[in-house]
């Protein structure tokens, strides 16, 4: 079996200097006239892109979102009102912004439980800055920097000290929220500088809120980064097999560090919005959000074991959770019932494909 044709050599370092460094030269190599035996063509894909899309997790989520949307519009005549829909977004955009960043961390095979703790600490420090009479840009800057710094702490613990991320961030969750409690006790900050209210309550255009605008922008950015860039590819490879990724020359630690830092920053952004929207800060702010945000990411089809997942999935999951909460709210159903629905959904959407596969295997076996 000859695998190489002598007249078409492989590129080696020797001819590196003389060639243009793109992929173009290789593409031509691939098309070079082939001697015998004829080269077997291997197709790029077997599934047409459209078929693959239809079979995807995202299609399922879209269907779910459409169903809830339809049910909502039947449930309440007010639902389809554009302002009402705009209001509906407020209950998930802040969490969804963090979920976009956390999706990268989970894709890389790690987890960050401390995001809600970061929101609390960032919010508290913003309150303290505002109470000290600082202007709006400083307050916002403190909020964002706190988030980034907290994320960097997580990143250092996981990449520098090589702690398992789940326990490290359970620790920092206590630490960050604990610091907020330490600073604020059972008090609250309620006074913020002029202009601060815009981030959580303002509208960019007509009914298009600032929060939704930022979320959509960040979603596009995250989708672009994950699905189009070498960084996204590296994150996926790290999630699937960190050792092979490191052997391939990827900077595994550095990338993971920045993913944690970015998640901290996203929590800072969410904190600015939430604080602005509520107009007050308590250390108990955003309690329990970490689990809701993780749920959002996992429901979006990101495998908790790393490597698998998409940004459209996460966005759709956020939409599903948001629509559900809002719809149940229209029906005057308590938010905690909604949490049951989300819990059931989380388990069901992951368990059903597994169960279906098992069932079909069994049926195939019983009919030889």
């Amino acid at each position: 079996m000859t695998m190489l044709t002598p007249n078409v050599p492989f590129s080696t370092g020797q001819d590196r200097a003389g060639q243009n460094r793109g992929g173009q030269d290789r593409a031509e190599l691939g098309r070079a006239p082939s001697p015998t035996p004829p080269i077997r063509r291997i197709p790029d894909r077997t599934d047409a892109p459209l078929t693959a899309l239809l079979k995807s997790w995202e299609a399922l989520l879209l269907l779910l979102a459409a169903a809830i949307f339809t049910a909502n519009s039947f449930a309440s005549p007010y639902f389809l009102d554009v302002w009402n829909l705009s209001d509906a977004t407020f209950n998930f955009t802040e969490k969804a912004i963090v979920a976009l960043a956390l999706a990268f961390v989970i894709l890389a095979g790690e987890i960050d439980i401390s995001v809600a703790g970061i929101i609390a600490l960032s919010s508290t420090l913003m309150g303290a800055t505002a109470a000290a009479g600082q202007p709006m840009p400083v307050v916002v800057g403190v909020g964002l920097l706190t988030g980034l710094a907290c994320g960097a702490v997580n990143g250092l613990l996981v990449t520098g000290l090589e702690l398992p991320s789940i326990v490290a961030t359970i620790g920092t969750m206590s630490l960050f929220r604990g610091l907020a409690y330490g600073i604020l006790g059972d008090g609250a900050y309620t006074r913020y500088p002029e202009g601060f209210a815009y981030f959580g309550q303002g509208y960019v255009w007509e009914w298009l809120s600032f929060e939704v605008t930022v979320f959509l922008g960040l979603a596009l950015l995250a989708g672009f980064l994950l699905h189009r860039t070498s960084l996204g590819r590296a994150v996926r490879a790290i999630g699937h097999n960190p050792t092979a990724a490191a052997f391939s020359g990827l900077k595994v630690r550095r990338i993971k560090f920045w993913l944690f830092a970015a998640t901290g920053l996203a929590a800072g952004v969410a904190s600015v919005m939430l604080t602005s929207r509520l107009g007050s800060t308590r250390p108990s702010i955003a309690t329990g959000w970490e689990l809701e945000i993780v749920t959002m990411v996992v429901l979006g089809g990101v495998a908790i074991t790393g490597g698998v997942g998409t940004i459209p999935g996460v966005v759709l999951a956020a939409l599903v959770m948001g629509l559900l909460t809002f719809g149940l709210g229209l029906l005057n159903v308590s938010g905690i019932i909604m949490s049951i629905v989300v819990g059931v959904m989380l388990i069901a959407v992951i368990a059903l494909p597994v169960l279906a596969r098992k069932l079909s295997n069994r049926m195939r076996r019983s009919t030889p």
Partner: protein
Amino acid sequence: MTMSTPVPPARLPDDSAQDAPLLEMRGITKLFPGVRALSDVNLTLRAGRVTALIGENGAGKSTLVKTMTGIYRPDGGDIRIDGAPVVFTAPAMAESAGITAIHQETVLFDELSVAENIFAGHAPTTRFGLIDRKAMMARAGALLRTLDAPFGPHTRLKDLSIGQRHLVAVARALSVEARVIIMDEPTAALSQKEADELFAIVARLKAQGRAILFISHKFEEVFRIADDYAVFRDGRSVGAGSLADTDQAEIVRLMVGRPVEQTFPKLAVTPGELVLEVEDYAHPTEFDGVSFHLRRGEILGLYGLVGAGRSEFCQSLFGITRPSRGRLRIKGRDTVIRSPGDAIRAGLVYVPEERGRHGAVLAMPIVDNMTLATLAEVSRHGVISRAREFALARCYAERLDLRAASLSQPVGTLSGGNQQKIVISKWLATRPDIIILDEPSKGIDIGSKAAVHGFISELAAQGLAVIMISSELPEILGMSDRVLVMREGRPIHLYDRAGLTAETLVRAATGNTDTHPELAA
């Protein structure tokens, strides 16, 4: 499962017709989705005899072992012990029927004591259902004494060497009064001395009247300790009998289905300029004092026993670990390599031995794997061009005659040989000057082996400097221009190809050498 199928009259080799088989497997078939892993295979084990199970990777040996030990349930065929049919639905049932397996690398429980390892799953209990530690320790101690083990039952497993862990596994087999003991590549990670000790134990087990199924790739071992053989190919039995009636060539012919004379397509290459100079490379615990030079077009073989520090040394060259001392010059320039990224930029790449763990990202598509080390080249400002990626991947896939349904197929769904082609492609795409291949033909069927060897030759002919780690003597002798032998982390000697014999290499690698005490330059 059919148990009532009439059993055809036994066709036993003449010389052992009087011995009733201890364990018989007839017509065993095992199906996986889309794959017929075993089809109608037979295996007979007799008391007091060692049967070697031989076959290429993927021939169905592991599946058969899993069927024998109750991990898998066969889709057809029957298993008989002393002539009586048995059905195993769980590993525990096989164990209580006297069948036990000692697995590759003897994976047991690090955190538990030796006694607990021996009795995991079947510890003696008191009448309150609690583990009877006293009895367990006493029985474990007695078993260890019969094996002359140099450690006691209280020792934590994590404090033992790999060879000592084998003793624990054997003690475990004895503790369940196993009549059939399966040893799946038991010597893969053992030193020669440890392997010799293991063979002594095998002989003892055999003398006690136990039946032993010995799975190994090493013919030398097989002919040394086995009495009978069974050869599998592509999930079928293709031959069985007494080793006394056959020879190595015949077994190889059965394995591959056609006679192969092992030839190595080594091309004559005039070495070019000096590309790699390693001076006195050392690591605190893994290797010491390694020095050599390498020219373009040369293939340097790195020979030694498993665990001689060859991979560790090469991984250090590649920036996975840091050397404590030593100098590296690539293309005449002093180079410091701190990470694989540095190494790739300097033109040095390393194709790891463990494809699944270090080489490929099995869950990712072929195309994504092929460009993983060259992401910067298929992207502009960090944005990947899918078209360029597919073009690059197709180029290598077709050159290497990759067998795949599409380039978007996950690498994990391919055979070992095809996975290796992808991993090598990934590295060639970086256009290196120096390529280190760590056991390049390990876990690859014999057909693909020849292809990989031809390919390595071509690379050298095109001016690549190649370092090839291999534990297979024919491969080392057939492919290398020079051979560096390492033992216990140190270079022993650097040999030229001319007049080099297998005996010389083995003597140098095992330390039985009374010649060449001097170290390599």
